[in-house]
Symmetry: C2
Amino acid sequence: MDLNEYMATCIAQVERELNRLLPAEDVIPTTIHKAMRYSIFAGGKRLRPILCMAAARACGGQEENALIPACAVEAMHTYSLIHDDLPGMDNDDLRRGKPTNHKVFGEGIAILAGDALLTEAFAILALVRPVPLYSVRDFIAELAAAGGSRQLIGGQTLDLEGEHKQLNKNELQAIHLGKTAALFTTSLRLGGMTANAAPEHLDALTRFGTHLGLAFQVVDDILDITATTQELGKTVGKDIAAEKSTYPHLLGLDGAREEANRLTQAAREALNDLPADHVEPLSLLTSFLLDRTH
Amino acid sequence: MDLNEYMATCIAQVERELNRLLPAEDVIPTTIHKAMRYSIFAGGKRLRPILCMAAARACGGQEENALIPACAVEAMHTYSLIHDDLPGMDNDDLRRGKPTNHKVFGEGIAILAGDALLTEAFAILALVRPVPLYSVRDFIAELAAAGGSRQLIGGQTLDLEGEHKQLNKNELQAIHLGKTAALFTTSLRLGGMTANAAPEHLDALTRFGTHLGLAFQVVDDILDITATTQELGKTVGKDIAAEKSTYPHLLGLDGAREEANRLTQAAREALNDLPADHVEPLSLLTSFLLDRTH
């Protein structure tokens, strides 16, 4: 199978659905809806929605049936980027090659656009169709836990507190477990849930998502050093400028590459605990994320 | 019945339940949990939880059964205050007589604490017990709509855009319908839903909450002029300082008092469309909110 084609199909479906679900730009107050749409249609990779849809397939379901949670996790991811870029947080001017939300709409609207997308994530997920094993309550609780103060926001908190400090590998990993692995994992699990996946298959998706999320972050840290600003669409070397602890900093560039390989291998092993029939998209995505250049 | 006693009982139950539901201060990362608890236990009036519980009673149910949505709306209200006080929004140093969240914890943590309480609102509401007429999906959709970009966040957006402008009465009302009336109304409706209220009773609660919310805001504007800083627990005259449009500014102090009376009367009339047996707490609360001095 052609992974690029698979991803393009998923992305087209997710973008059509997000466009349908989010308030139009001319809904009053127009500013907030323009700001929400500016960031959610800013050319993101749609990685979490693709993971969600590919996990539904891996558990014997269909990608289309995972569209609602796929849009919900993308809304949550986008809110976290808008808030992360704010002057009171990372203070970034550039995201995906475009000015960040607060650079275009001002700080107040950017805070509100993030709040609105977070709220919208739950409004969207409330539309999910329950399955025999999982109720609407289960879907909502899963997303709220991943986005909460012990996981996604917990990771952001540790990240803020770790600035200008020399962190060890465990501390760095705790940040990325929260900031990246939690939403990867929940994207996969929500997709599996739409396919009525057995609990042991959700466990396998948790192990897969945890390792994949950590590997993704190690690769990100490496690219921050080795890629060009044009390739990344954001300022290169900003981790160093912000005195952020990174894997290459802790382990050296070769050590970081070994770590990415090790984590990718662990992710791949978790896939062995899923039924073999439909696991190919997740397997190809794993290699794609390790080998990417942006 | 003694309204003060009724309110004190509701408040004690809500605070016990919030304490049980929110992560403890020693849960890692401790900073975020301290910041969340700082604002949610900062001595708020718990008006929205009380409305929620009194609406359950008015619809023939019990206050205790409305505790979960009562805590959810208070979490949502508290997040909106934290974000509203940020330097990028209203830039307030004082709230309920105490330093605002970002003054104590810094701007980054305050953004995250707001995000976490918003997320927690849905985590809490997912625990609600469904009733024959209303599913978990209905409860979540109700809160997400009230908190979203057309209502609560819509009101904040209009408020931001209206600064330093001379608004007319319709524009001012649009702000308060979003910022205040939406969450009042949803607090009442969620309480009614726990009592399996008939749709026409939810409609009556919507009319009641809309007028009560607007009346509340007119009284707030009047108190910003007539009360002392000590009574209010926040800086008096800050509306004038911020060149914000207010009801007394538009209608004069006497005109604003007439408007508050008129809206309160309209709220009272909506209560006539609820069963008469248990409506006393809501009725007493209506007078209490009109006549308050802080």
